[in-house]
Every structure is written in C-alpha cells, then in structure tokens.
C-alpha cells in the first residue's frame, strides 16, 4: 500500500515536470491548428495558418536564410573543428588540457556576451573596411565561431579512441601521410564528425541571440523574424512557423542522440 502511494507520487512528479516543460510548446502547437484567432477558444481544426505562412514571402525568405546559414555554418564549423580536434589531439598532454578548456569556454559563456563581443568585432572591422556591412556574412562567421567547440567536442573522443599506430601502419604499407589520413584516420572518426555536423546544424537553426546582434538591418532568419513579428502583435502564422521550427530541431536532436548511442554501442567491444 505504502509502496503504491510512493509509486504514484513518483509518477505524478514526473508527469508534472514534463507538463511544465512541454505545456507551453503543446499550447503553441495546438494553437497553430486553431481556426479561431482567439487564444482561449477552440474554433475547429485548420491548416490555414500553415498555408498563409507559405504564401508569405517574408517568412519564406527568413526560412531560406535560416537553412542556408545553418548548412554553411555547420559545414564550415565541421571543417575547422575537425582540423582543430586533430591538432589538439597531437599536442602534449598538458597543452592539450589547456587547449580543450579554452575551446570549451565559449560553450559555457553566456550567449549574450558572445553575441555582443562578436558585434563589437564586426563594428571594429567596419572601421577598417568601410564597405563591410553587417549581414549574411557576419551572421555566418558568428555561427561558424560558436559552432566550432561543439564539433571539437564530438570529434575529440573518436580521435582518442583511434590508435595512432593504424596511421603509421598505413604509411608503412606505402601510403603518403595525406592518403593515410583520408583512408584510415578519417573513416575511423567519421561518426564523430557527422554527430558534430548535426549538432552544429541544430545549434545554428536554433540560435536567436547571436544572430540578433550580428545580423544588421537587412537580414532576417526565422528566429529574428518571429521576434520582430511578435512585437507587432502575434499572428497565428507565427504559431505554425514555431511549430515547424520546434519539430525540425526536435527531429535533429533525436537523430544526434541516436547516433551517439550507436557510437557508444560500437565503441564498447573495442579495446
């Protein structure tokens, strides 16, 4: 009897927790299908808001910008982050620890601080190159910057697992250092690189603060667009858009986590 009550309380607690976490998003999703514009009345199911969303060229441009920046910044960060991880892995142990801490700090740093410092940097750049405008390029560079640590963090453990002697074995069998890297080291760390890419893509898709401060007047991504719209008064299309954004990020995160589980399962039987 006491046990049953204990069980009930445990379940109840978990339920409340999940409710608090997801109720706001749930409400948003429900509202995005609500025929009535009212936030408190259910006027029947509709896809109208989604339809008008895709007819609004402003929002579509923002979506396009978001996806393009996410893709390009993820690619850039993956390239730079992987190279960085390889370099860090080959350092001496003391230097390596210091370098890893340095690359980790931007992840823990308050986003607003990163955002403002990046903005200041771009303004300073404008002093020297007057033609430089805040816009697509500055946002892209910012996203690459804050994404690099995530890539390093996913690639490093894989590098640590791979034995340096396989690289040497490839050279021993006649491969040049570059060939040895692409044929032997890269396939070994590929799962980490892919996870890093997905994580970077998600982070970029998700970002508001840094984009807001570095985008300049002309450019909008989904998150900054939504923010601007809500200040005018929230239109139901925004619910639809937010639902799509949430769905996309949710899907990507599930993918990343599935990969992680798989990597760990793969890694176990190895020595």
């Amino acid at each position: 009897m006491v046990n049953a009550i204990k069980k009930f309380i445990q379940k109840f607690y978990l339920g409340i927790m999940l409710l608090f976490l997801y109720a706001p998003i749930l409400i948003l999703i429900v509202l995005s299908f609500n025929k009535s514009k009212s936030r408190s009345k259910w006027g029947g199911f509709t896809l109208d808001w989604y339809r008008s969303l895709f007819e609004s060229s402003d929002l579509l441009t923002a979506l396009y910008n978001t996806l393009l920046i996410a893709l390009l910044s993820a690619l850039g960060a993956t390239l730079l982050g992987t190279m960085g991880a390889i370099a860090i892995n080959r350092m001496r142990k003391s230097t390596r620890t210091i370098m890893m801490s340095i690359t980790n700090i931007p992840m823990l740093n308050a986003e607003i601080v990163t955002a403002i410092s990046l903005m200041l940097l771009f303004i300073a750049v404008r002093e020297f190159i007057p033609n430089f405008q805040l816009g697509f390029l500055s946002v892209l560079v910012s996203h690459i910057t804050f994404n690099i640590p995530y890539v390093i963090l996913s690639v490093s453990p894989k590098l640590k697992q791979t034995d340096r002697s396989t690289y040497e074995a490839a050279m021993d069998l006649g491969a040049s250092p570059i060939m040895a890297f692409f044929k032997v080291v890269l396939p070994d760390i590929m799962p980490g690189i892919l996870s890093g890419f997905l994580l970077a893509f998600t982070m970029s898709l998700d970002d508001f603060v840094i984009t807001h401060f570095t985008k300049g007047p002309g450019l909008d991504t989904l998150s900054t667009k939504i923010y601007a719209e809500t200040r005018k008064g929230i239109q139901p299309e925004i619910y639809a858009l937010s639902t799509i954004l949430f769905g996309a990020v949710f899907l990507l995160l599930v993918l990343v986590n599935l990969r992680k589980d798989k990597n760990q399962a793969d890694a176990k039987p190895r020595r």
């Binding site: 396989t166 069998l173 070994d188």
Partner: protein, 359 residues
Amino acid sequence: MSDRKLIDLVDITKQYGDSVVLDDLNLYIRENEFLTLLGPSGCGKTTTLRIIGGFETPDKGKVIFDGKDITRLAPNERQLNTVFQKYALFTHMTITENIAFGLKIKKKSKQYIKDKIDYALKLVNLDGFGNRMPDSLSGGQQQRIAIARAIVNEPKVLLLDEPLGALDLKMRQDMQYELIRLKNELGITFVYVTHDQEEALTMSDTIVVMNQGYIQQVGTPEMIYNEPKNAFVADFIGESNIISATMVEDKLVNILGANFVCVDTGFGRNQPVDVVIRPEDIDLVKPEDGIIKGRVTSLIFKGVHYEMEVMANGREWLVHSTDLSPVGSEVGIRVDPFDIQIMNRPESEDEEVVTIDEP
C-alpha cells in the same frame, strides 16, 4: 643467412628532450637473418626499430639500407614493413581489404592482388577469413592478419615490435613456431623486438642484448647464454650465480676463498673479476669431494629439476639438479672448468650502465 650486410646503423644517437635514449649505437643486420633486440622495458628497442622503419629520425648517425643512406626517407619510401605490437588493423575494412591495402597503393592488378591474398591467408593458416571484420577475430588471428598484410608487399625486411606481447602463453608458444616457419618459407630478414629472453633464445639467429640505450652483447643464442660478456647479460638471460672473484693466474680463479680451475686466460694476476656460473652447471657431490662445502637451505620441485639453495663460504648458491639433496644436508660443490665464465668487472663510466638494475 648470408654474410651480406643489409642494414647498417652507424653511430645512431637519439634524444627525447634531455634524456638520451640511444647513445652512439652501431649495429648491422645481415640478409635473411633473424635478429632480435632484447632488453628490459625502456631500454630503447622500440626506438631503434622505429628508426629503421622511418617513424623516427635519429639526431645523429646514419641508417644504411642495401648500401644506400635512407636516414631521411619517409616510411612509405622504404622497402620494409612493420608488424605493430597492437596489430593496428584497419577496423573499418574487411580482412581482404586490410591485406590488399599496400598492393592497391602500388597499383597492382586485380588478379595479382587476389592471388597474393589467397597465398598470404594460406600462409598464416587463415584460409576463408577474407570477408570477416578484424574485430571478429581473436588476438592471435588478428596478429597473423597483421603479418599477412605486411608480407604480401614482399618486403626485404620485416620489423616486428613485441608482436606476441598481448597474447596468452599457449598462443605465444604456437606463434613462435609459426614465425620461425614463416621466416624460413619467405627467406627474408626479420628484426624482432622482445623483452622475453626465452622468446629470443628460441627464435633468433642473432640476439642483441640492450640496456639503457647501449648494446651489451651481440651473438648467437648459445654465445649469449653460455658466454655472457658481463653481469647484466648473465643476469638478464636466465638465472645464474654472479660472484665477485679474483683471477689468481691464467686458468685459476679464486671464488670466495677457494681456488677453481677454469679455462680463461689473459686477465692478469690478482685481477678482480666477476664469474658467472649457471645453476645447472653446479654439481653437488659428497662433502669431501667438493671444492667447497655447504649446507642445503631450501628445496623446490620445478618439474624437470629440483631448485636448491646451498649456503657455502658466506653465499647462497642457486643449484638446478635432477638429483635431490634434502634441506639441511651437507654437500660439496664442484664446477667443471669450462662452465665457469669469467667477465671483466666494469670500471669506466660507460661500462657502468651494465650494472644490474633489473631484478
């Protein structure tokens, strides 16, 4: 084994930071020789092998291969292959792809590669394993694949760094015979690294005993075992009694106050020396027949022989014998003249390294 020098290491010095790992090392390796670098862990065996393989560059000195200076050549430009201690198989490739790796880089024809793989898999007794992944093989099987992967490239020299180190005892013994068979079938030069003296004695044509970056002795297994040049070699290769003594005159040595007849000459009168006597070379006789008398203090049955300790003239003598003398009994000790090995006592600082620092 021919008499032609294939590899010549000339005045090799290698330093990491402040520590000198190899100091002015000179060594040649002959064609078709099975040469083993033997020594305690950290004495520079792997470093020597990596210098031959091209994974390290010496700070001073030259590596001559087949008459050409290859000191600065990259590993992929050398006609030798390495078998690494931890196999270093490519885990994302099948066994076949692993073995084909070097041949594909050399742009060999498909048929040639296929024939070579079949031949190599048969040679290492792993016919039919071609489509498996490395992870699905046992340690011994993985090591044999690593060997197959190396030998299909027809290297003139195979470098092996403690290739059996990670295997259990039974597997290790099987693989020792396998390696000797391979060496004979292929007729190539093996440079083998181990810290296991039994392994070295079993397999090698030539053993190079190393300690702290210095070569202590080079010779056949018999020479190294029967005529160790110094106390370090004597102690590292098998068990032995190493005793301080004085040369009385040619062919007569005073050990702990008693004169023993030996066969060595040229040490000079009253010269302090070290003598080595192997435990199996000591004969226990009746007390009155011995050169010195002693009392048995311990006795252990070891299967093929008894191991006894005899207290005589203030020292424990280690004795191996198939005849048993009970603990407490009085015995005499005799040693045949040619079983007494006389060695110079180290004097200079360079020779100092040879003093025993391993239990």
